[in-house]
């Protein structure tokens, strides 16, 4: 009985400490020092309207935009998910083939052009905001053409793509990548 009573009281104290005070302290510090990030890294567009989060992928199927990685949940955010298809899945084999073909046709690439792996396979989160620099470069001529860019504008676009490549963090963490939403936003601003 004594044990139960102590357990009950200690449980309440622990709940207060780790379940209330601790998250409140973290929220206070986070909101104080990193309020943009703590609130979802939301980007503002024209007229201060929220256009999404720089960390979450959006669906881009218009020819004037660079495309994001495929998403098994069609970029749904509540809740997002992955395909969870295994390495011998017939479904995944078929989907991968279709995505390779579509990517080549969509971007006017040769039929033997290798398509970057991340454009063939869906991400784990369904919301991966990045693609490889290679995947951005392969989409560039198509975007330039769709936007009716002249020689000079095409060069500007090319430079923009190169500038948007993020190298590994602190020189050693992760692999090179391009944030698709930020790139597309910059491309819109280029006009």
């Amino acid at each position: 009985m004594k044990t139960t009573l102590i357990a009950f009281r200690l449980f309440l104290v622990m709940t207060l400490l780790t379940g209330v005070l601790y998250p409140l302290a973290v929220t206070g510090l986070g909101q104080g020092f990193f309020s943009h990030k703590a609130n979802g890294s939301v980007l503002q567009g024209l007229q201060n309207k929220a256009i999404g989060s720089e960390l979450l992928a959006q669906k881009f199927d218009s020819v004037i935009y660079f495309q994001s990685r495929p998403s098994a949940c069609d970029y749904g955010t509540v809740a997002s998910s992955a395909s969870n298809k295994g390495p011998t899945s017939a479904d995944l084999q078929k989907t991968a083939q279709e995505r390779r073909t579509t990517f080549r046709v969509h971007n006017n690439l040769a039929s033997d052009q290798e398509v970057p792996s991340e454009m063939v396979f869906a991400s784990g989160s369904g919301l991966d905001p990045h693609i490889s620099p290679e995947a951005a470069r392969l989409q560039m001529s198509r975007v330039a053409k769709a936007r009716g860019c002249n020689e000079e504008q095409t060069q500007a676009l090319k430079q923009l793509v190169e500038r948007s490549v993020k190298s590994p963090q602190f020189g050693m963490f992760g692999i090179p990548r391009v944030n698709v939403l930020q790139l597309n936003r910059a491309v819109d601003a280029l006009r």
Partner: protein, 563 residues
């Protein structure tokens, strides 16, 4: 693999070796009551907690009293989560207006978080209120980890004390683990994670309109505070459904490094803490070495397997279920550490790993989560194997086996066998039942041997209190909710109770100083013998099951067979 990826892996293991004595030494001081730099700040808080709870911190408990306190405290944690999940619709901090969950999902989740498994049959952003996450799951993240550390410390005391009767005070061990170790580290990690982009807000989800004019909801929540302890306490239950693959849960390669490092930091350091408590850090380093060897082997195999050409998918760079900011190497490093350590968080979908990489993840869990393992849980699990190993060594030379001056007799060996066999039985019997009944098979997402692997993985994860999954399997069904709840309970308390019983038995024994006939347990030969015992138990128990899943899938994949 790129050079930076190799560098990261080297940095990972270098840091692990350097920090183990630092943090492990700190933790040993906490449990032996020595002063640390946190003592002046936190001692008054600790005293206040005891006063509020009515705890007498000088009271000593027998192993039975210790176990009883532990069980009652855990039961309360279970009830809190269970009730919160059912009633969350009517409670505050629910801006999205989520409804109460089904009784079976609440049962499964409450068991899962109480047992430090953090198996998730739900998606947090869609099914849980902020209050449930914070006051329910968040608290269990702390106290289930603290429970694991407490059991390990009690067992270490049982070995170290000479002819005593008590193994410590559960309330004190639990409070100190939380207050001096888990809370300060979590606070620090949470703030750094926010600086990388992890969300921490009580606001409602933000409605946005994308560049192409679609509407997109931005989910929020008090995520960073929970993710920090989820990694540090080898919990693994994600704030979001896709866990640390979600850009809000793990936004950058640096946040990824910190999180994957946090998985092993405390379990590794606890080997040193153990060495300190039993009076010889060499004993701790010996176990550390054994664990490190296994981790390096499975990491090597998984990296090799994942970068082989898959003729079915026509690629040697398989990105299904992986994130571009992490790449293949980081996904493997995480996949292996999270499964050796009973953490169970993921930064890539294990269901889509190559067959052998997925198989390694399963093998890691099948070995009993003793390769570093859960905080505390890994050490006391490993000590079960140590008991068996010294017993076998004793048989070989024909002497009564002893470990650190304590005779290992029939009772200890029986208890260690229970602790090793209970989770194994859950895995094999559970999988067998699931593949024989329609309720088990109707949940599959993949066909062929991979489908079998999905079921095998689920029971392995539950029994090992890991919590990661081959996520394609639909597990929010009555059959899996109940079966896996049972599996998690047996996997947790089927090891904790024998471990405490051994502590209670050893603490009363006389100390016999080592003699010529004593088998030294701090030499490379012991590492070899220990690994052989773990390997033989793991292989003999699970090789047939693994053959039907990942191994046959690997062979079929290479011959181009699809399902």
């Amino acid at each position: 693999m790129q050079t930076t990826e190799l560098l990261q892996i080297a940095l990972y293991f270098g840091l692990l070796i350097i920090l183990t004595p630092l943090i492990g030494g700190f933790m040993a001081k906490i449990f032996t009551g020595e002063k640390t730099w946190l003592t002046p700040v936190l001692t008054p808080v600790e005293g206040f907690i005891y006063k509020l709870s009515g705890v007498d911190d000088r009271e000593e408990m027998s192993w039975k009293q210790y176990a009883c306190a532990l069980l009652v405290f855990n039961l309360l944690g279970f009830l809190a989560v269970f009730i919160l999940m059912l009633t969350q619709a009517a409670l505050p901090l629910n801006p999205q207006g989520v409804t109460g969950t089904s009784v079976l999902l609440a049962l499964n989740t409450a068991v899962s978080f109480m047992t430090n498994t953090n198996w998730q049959a739900y998606s947090g952003e869609a099914a849980l209120s902020y209050l449930t996450q914070m006051v329910g799951l968040g608290v269990q993240n702390f106290v289930s980890a603290a429970t694991g550390i407490a059991v390990m410390v009690a067992l270490a005391r049982g070995i170290a004390r000479k002819q005593g009767t008590s193994v410590g005070n559960f309330w004190v061990d639990l409070t100190r683990s939380t207050l001096y170790i888990l809370l300060p580290l979590s606070l620090l990690l949470a703030i750094i994670l926010i600086s990388q982009g992890v969300v921490q807000s009580f606001g409602s989800y933000v409605q946005t309109t994308t560049l192409e004019g679609r509407s997109q909801m931005i989910p929020l929540g008090a995520a960073a505070s929970q993710i920090a302890i989820k990694q540090l306490g080898t919990n693994g239950g994600g704030f979001f459904g896709v866990n640390s693959a979600h850009p809000f849960e793990n936004p950058t390669p640096f946040s990824n490094f910190l999180q994957v490092f946090s998985i092993l930091m405390l379990p590794a350091a606890l080997t040193y803490t153990y060495g300190k408590i039993v009076g010889s850090v060499k004993q701790g380093w010996t176990l550390f070495a054994a664990m490190l060897v296994v981790l390096l082997i499975v990491l090597g195999v998984s990296l090799w397997s994942e970068t082989q050409y898959n003729s079915v998918l026509q690629t040697a760079h398989q990105m299904e279920g992986k994130e571009q900011r992490f790449g293949v190497a980081n996904s493997m490093l995480w996949g292996m550490t999270t499964t050796v350590a009973s953490n169970g968080s993921v930064n890539a979908m294990h269901d889509s790993f190559s067959p052998l990489a997925g198989g390694m993840a399963m093998l890691n869990m099948m070995l009993g989560e003793v390769i570093f393992g859960g905080v505390g849980a890994g050490m006391y699990g490993m000590l079960m194997f140590v008991v068996i190993t010294v017993f076998i060594a004793g048989l070989m030379v024909g002497r009564t086996p002893e470990y650190l001056g304590k005779k290992i007799e029939a009772f200890e060996v029986q208890m260690a066998m229970v602790a090793i066999l209970a989770p194994s039985a859950v895995i094999l019997i559970g999988t067998m039942i699931a593949v024989l009944i329609p309720q088990g098979l109707s949940s599959l997402n993949n066909q062929g041997p991979h489908g079998f692997s999905e079921i095998l993985y689920a029971f392995t994860s539950a029994a090992g209190n890991n919590g990661s999954a081959f996520g394609g399997l639909t597990v929010d069904t009555p059959f899996y909710n109940i079966a896996l709840s049972l599996g998690m309970l047996i996997g947790r308390f089927g090891v904790i109770l024998p471990a405490l019983a051994i502590a209670g038995s050893l603490v009363g024994k006389k100390y016999t100083p080592p003699s010529l006939g004593t088998f030294p347990t701090d030499k490379p030969l012991f590492v070899v013998l220990l690994l052989a015992v773990i390997g033989i138990v793991g292989a003999l128990t699970f090789f047939p099951a693994l053959s039907l899943g990942p191994i046959v899938e690997h062979l079929l994949m290479n011959s181009g067979k699809i399902f």
